[in-house]
Symmetry: C2
Subunit: 219 residues, 2 copies
DNA sequence: ACCTGAACACCGTTCAAGT
DNA sequence: ACCTGAACACCGTTCAAGT
């Protein structure tokens, strides 16, 4: 998902304080270069993984020199952080519409599908690597948490609406429940990738069964 | 958890076919050296992470030369694989006893506690890195899956017993339910590490609420 | 300002030489 | 057989020099 420069400026941009990147004159060129490098890096990371892919490969793929790359990203970890930040929130709009039209659980399963499809396409290890890098490195996780929070807020709103409709148990704390759902989604995706199970439909029905029982109104 | 040489030989040992390691004469020395290297690596990985820790550091910590290390492990990934394999199943015995005495869900929360404590102690990134490495590299994941299967089998047996007692919904498929519980455990641990939430009690109650609702008998 | 690419520092792995 | 440690191949990052 491409994001406008305005959107970049609004959300937490970890590069603002970087002295190395402070003297970029043309913001449009900067955005184009970042996009160019990120696209190249995505291709390389998917092919070989974050730690296997080399900066030389990314430079070749982006048709740029190493020196130029480091004008726009301060490190390899910075690139993966930007990629992850960019990918999050892609499905938020689709989720919101689906939640209004088909209910919370149906919308949840729609998000689950697009998430599980990434694992089936072989992005599982990359997602785990991003996770590891984010847990280890605050510089990676901080901007990611900002984006994550935005998604969580959207899901919380939809969950509260579903509780008001009686679709979801009203005694659940909306924030905890949302975080739990996000956690189970990631957990199921990672575990299935670990077990080499690539059936997306099976993953969705596994997640759906869990979500339905968790969210079901008690009496 | 230290495992006997016999146990090593029984479970899937990925080194058997390695030509480099074929001519180890004294199996007792080999086991001692492997232990020595793994303990040193655990210390280094915990301090600095899998990719940050260098082989030189591990060699220094283990008081062994680089050449000697490579007699017992074929690569850095091989070491993390052996560590992960070694750590799995540590709690299986404790779980089994607790399941018989205090019921399935209580035993589950006991396992959850020791798992979440690892995250609180700062092993979250390492667990994610092991996950990533296992997803990416079959040589890492194969022995891990063997150990994982053994744990799953134990939990399945306890789950079936709990279903027979009416403690857990009998319509749940035991294998799917067990895998789902493992996935949610990992997912909650990783997500909380990502969010920098280190409260173990909160993690357990989050997991317990999910597990209780998921497993509760329907009518 | 923006870029290039050689140079630097470092790290995983190997291998000739020693006991 | 078991070990050492220098050497090798490679990679992330920097920086002097060019436009």
């Amino acid at each position: 998902m491409r994001r406008s420069i305005a959107a970049q400026a609004v959300s937490g941009n970890s590069r603002l304080g970087d002295p190395n990147l402070a003297r970029l004159a043309d913001p449009e060129l900067a955005e184009r270069r970042r996009r160019q490098i990120m696209d190249a890096a995505i291709a390389c990371f998917r092919r070989r993984g974050f730690h296997q892919a080399t900066m030389a490969e990314i430079c070749a793929e982006a048709e740029i020199s190493a020196g130029a790359l480091y004008r726009y990203f301060s490190s390899k970890a910075d690139i993966i952080g930007a990629i992850a930040e960019d990918k999050r929130g892609e499905n938020d709009e689709a989720f919101m519409r689906a939640a209004e039209q088909h209910g919370f659980i149906a919308a949840l399963c729609l998000s689950a599908r697009s998430f599980f499809e990434k694992f089936a396409e072989g992005d599982g290890a990359l997602i785990a690597e991003i996770m590891a890098e984010a847990i280890r490195d605050n510089a990676v996780s901080e901007p990611l948490r900002t984006t994550d929070s935005a998604s969580v807020q959207i899901f919380i709103r939809a969950l509260v609406a579903a509780q008001a409709r009686g679709e979801v148990d009203a005694t659940l704390d909306p924030e905890i429940a949302t975080n739990t759902l996000f956690a189970t989604l990631e957990g199921i995706g990672l575990r299935r990738a670990f077990c080499r199970e690539t059936d997306v439909e099976a993953a969705i029905s596994q997640f759906r069964a869990l979500a339905e029982r968790y969210l079901e109104p008690r009496k």
